[in-house]
Symmetry: D2
């Protein structure tokens, strides 16, 4: 039976390659705390991928990766400039504030959950040097965004340039980094350090891994303090190999990219099918692996009774969000659009 | 070839049962953030084990479990009373201070890394109500201790009683909880809440798991705040099922106990063999899965050249620590004692 | 020569009564850390003023008073609901975030720097119980506001009721509390605990004191933790009597009220005179001791050349803010309006 | 009637010169937040005193000065090395832990409350680079110490050198700095930056001031961050002039030094008189303004009934501490020793 889970890509399981890697890693003794061959392999593979040496700290969640990255750039009296819809602002229960020892998230607007460059330009030097105000210290960009939209490489570079010119560090929240690379067709290097990114939260969990995200550090001056922060946060797993093995398998044979390309493709298919249905208004275009559309209330009710899982009515009445993943199959899409069609009172008549 | 890894039980791999559980959990969709059947199963199994309802939060490391537990009991102006040799004091880079927002660890002495009750009695009400001083807020007991020694159930109850009478909470750092239960032959309930423990850090990683430790909450008034702290710390994994599946497998069929009993047994065997060797002074008795002994320097050098891994010369010249695990085999022990024997200059002459 | 300082009421000196009180307190020995007669006297006088027993902690700044008050109500994973123009949000370099160990300030809008009740109603239960989000924990109201506007007692009670119904604490930032009481003609009790305020930051520095503000605690369950926070913050002065003597003198003979009434009266006079001038647009009405008006650019330039000090062009082009204090004299007002008149090119012609 | 207050130098009042300075500062308008002539004057006067340019931040308490200074040198994962009897370790309710966001105070021993150089040498590089441990980051020396003993300039330089060689910053807690300079006869420069001190907490409150201590920064790279920390801590008084005027008067005409010399002299007189009494054992020598002696229990009881205030029986049975201050008069000393004599059962017989 097809899967009816479209809530988020974090409801999917894990890729078989990762399962095999974890099973292999379980066999024998290895040095603890990241001094193991899997961690070395992941770091080397990242070096190839990003076309330069990088430093790597693996975390068990994306929240920890984001919060650590921001803490490395932002003193307690600093501020993080981010979109008002960003995950770090809304969905991490203040993890950045905790890890930075009380910095402030200063939120910016912009269409499609993307930071408006003019708003950023106005914010990066706001009250610089004025002790009465928190000091702009870091820019955090989410790519792909919370709505599945994408910044172009040029847009990232422009935002990063505004930030760097004012002395801020640049963080990229890449919980869906793979989906973005797959969608844009650029290289990982182009989207990150070549565009001015200092630290990347390289998400894997949403795209086939189990419990492994990574902090990829391009500005290696930040590495030393991050090693202590990482340990102190309870993120330095003694059997780090089990996180690292996931990451190694995720990077090998470009699984990260093929998984993401598949998820994106499923969203594209879904969108095409939805566009062919009466009474369905597709919203935006599915740049990554998220599709928004507007459905009549009876259709939403019907789908929920069928067991479909998805967010709806959170953004505007009738607006639904469907997220596809590496595990989504064409049958799952067909099943979904069949049922949307079936629940349509008027279109049913026409058949 | 036998394993020569005796540094710590965290260099071992993982039990096949956990690998199978993780593989099974990877197949299908599941709700994120702990709303999955594996987490439910682990909680229920813990309820049976502890003979009462408990609350459960799973973490990726024991450091996170300890620091969260202590933060739930200790305000920023509080102090945690602990042994000066405790892991939380020496080996977590200030994680308790981070999670508590700056509380103080007040260290106590006592033989064999066990807190001296008289020292605790003198400390629990030190400067209570005096705003110039941090306020005693939590007692943290490690069982089994960092040296492998054990508190009796009565000793834990006596310490906990001193703490509770003065209004402190009681935390048990059970990184090697299973080894302690296996060695003492008591029930998990007797060693914890029946003895006055409010929160247990239930370690699994060192005893067959990969990346899963747990906060088991007996004083359920502390649960609500811990849920927010856990999320905010970046410990609420979106695919929590992969931690939970480890824990569920660890608890099923009492794998936790049989793994620990095996590790303890290997230490007992090692001690018996060492006791029969000239020039080896066994120190203490192996109550759990750690053996200390004193070896001549040339023997230490020889073992290291052989590829054996173990700590030595950290406590006193010539003192070595060997840790056994669920993975240690009788052959590994024989190999170790054979080589000790072989490196002995005088005994070699005799052969 | 008249004073031309209208930047803020914190540029004024101190009332002679406070100077005399400090001089008297300097003579002899007294117990340290607030166990002195001046502190007792201030507490008792506050009890009379507020018609009930209160607890008192004196601080050296209003920022410390605000941050401590908020920390007593807001856990690290909590949020403080406040107006987006509030001092705690904009002008304290993150002091609330520091003292709360990383809570979040969630800002609300509303005309005249007053919180809109509908926005508050929508915010007080936002994501309650959802561990992914910070939890609404405290409401902070500023009275008089940063623009000199006032909440009525009924408005404060309505906001406080919304907050309390949702389980939040209520803080009143009263840096200009005296000006508000003087302007509204209500009693201190009516504006605070009878309206639902749990803790008041009772400002004195802006209204005749030197370096003394106070935390007045109505919800006395919060006192015990505040005593430790206050010490730990470096706010428990060893010679507390010198802060307390200021506060005692400030309260005796209702100096606090007469000073504020005078400052308010000077603003009313200023407004009346400005209203009589061509080319000057008075904005709002001076409810407390702040007057906003719009002046032509050449007039602003002329005033600055004359040595007048005031904020301008921060809210909108040409908008100026004049703040009067207990020290402002009628001559100062006449001088100001004379010079505004003199700098007016066209009106000069007409004369 | 003579004063019988010998508990601490913080029970004294304030010098008339400071009272006059505060009264003068109250007259007129001045720019807020330290942009006033008194603050400038204090900074310049410190420059002369220390024979070099320094940066200055004035605080309302010594605890705030200490905690801010340490926070400037110590990251959250750092440790502060200090004597186990130090004020920062025992008497500030964790202020250093609060301001540093959770650093650890690692305590050292040494006679007379002075840090033992060998213990420091063993601690400065303990586990450097090991992410499992907090990292030694700052050394805090108290001069004069909590027992009134003194480091020589050479001893300070030797400790500072050990610290600097290992990359640590050096803080001098000078709550009784003036007493130390007066006793040793060295220059302020010799005792501080020339000996390797990076930041000095320059105490004034205990020696004639009301509510003003200062952070004197020699390592001016630390100034920028301290300005934000100082504001964020609620220590940037809007009417800073009232703290600064105290400090300016304290420095003018070397009042700081003459006050301290007087207090020291009173301790010397007290010691000489005590040495002439039977049954009194003077302990150590009064290097600054603190005298320890051992008295029979009936004498202690008698003195307390007379209204004398002093600490006793905290260090060992019968051991008493008498602290003299700028306000102590020869008559106060005579009165004290007369009463000790009078309470002596055996000596009474002889009279």
């Amino acid at each position: 039976m097809p899967s009816r889970a479209f809530t988020s890509d974090n409801t999917a399981g894990a890729s078989p390659q990762l399962v095999a890697a974890v099973a292999a890693a379980a066999q024998d003794h290895a040095l603890p705390y990241g001094a193991d061959p899997w961690t070395d392999h992941a770091r080397e593979r990242l070096g190839e991928l990003f076309e330069r040496e990088v430093d790597l700290l693996i975390t068990s969640t994306g929240s920890a990766a984001n919060a650590l990255a921001l803490a490395a750039m932002t003193p307690p009296w600093g501020s993080v400039l981010c979109h008002r819809d960003s995950h770090i602002n809304n969905d991490e229960c203040g993890a950045p504030e905790f890890y930075t020892a009380g910095a402030k998230l200063v939120t910016l607007g912009g269409d499609h959950a993307k930071i408006d460059p003019d708003q950023l330009a106005a914010a990066v030097r706001r009250k610089t040097g004025d002790v009465h105000s928190v000091q702009p210290s870091a820019l955090s960009i989410t790519q792909a965004t919370e709505t599945g939209s994408l910044y172009t490489v040029e847009e990232i570079a422009a935002l990063a340039s505004l930030a760097h010119d004012a002395g801020l560090g640049v963080h990229l929240d890449g919980a869906r980094f793979a989906n973005a690379v797959a969608a844009l067709g650029c290289t990982p290097a182009e989207m990150t350090w070549r565009a001015g990114v200092d630290i990347l939260s390289f998400g894997a969990t949403k795209n086939g891994a189990m419990t492994a995200d990574a902090i990829v550090i391009f500005n290696r001056d930040l590495t030393d303090q991050l090693r202590y922060r990482h340990k102190r946060a309870g993120q330095l797993a003694s059997k780090m190999r089990f996180h690292a093995a996931q990451f190694a398998a995720y990077l090998d044979d470009d699984l990260w990219l093929s998984n993401a390309a598949h998820a994106n493709q499923m969203s594209a298919v879904l969108r095409d099918q939805l566009a062919g249905l009466d009474h369905v208004q597709v919203q935006g275009r599915p740049e990554a692996n998220i599709v928004f559309c507007k459905l009549p209330a009876p259709v939403i009710d019907g789908l929920r009774e069928d067991g479909f899982r998805f967010y709806h009515d959170r953004w505007a009445p009738g607006v639904c969000r469907f997220v596809t993943s590496f595990q989504t199959q064409p049958d799952d899409i067909d099943d979904l659009t069949d049922r949307i069609h079936a629940h349509h009172p008027t279109t049913s008549h026409l058949q």
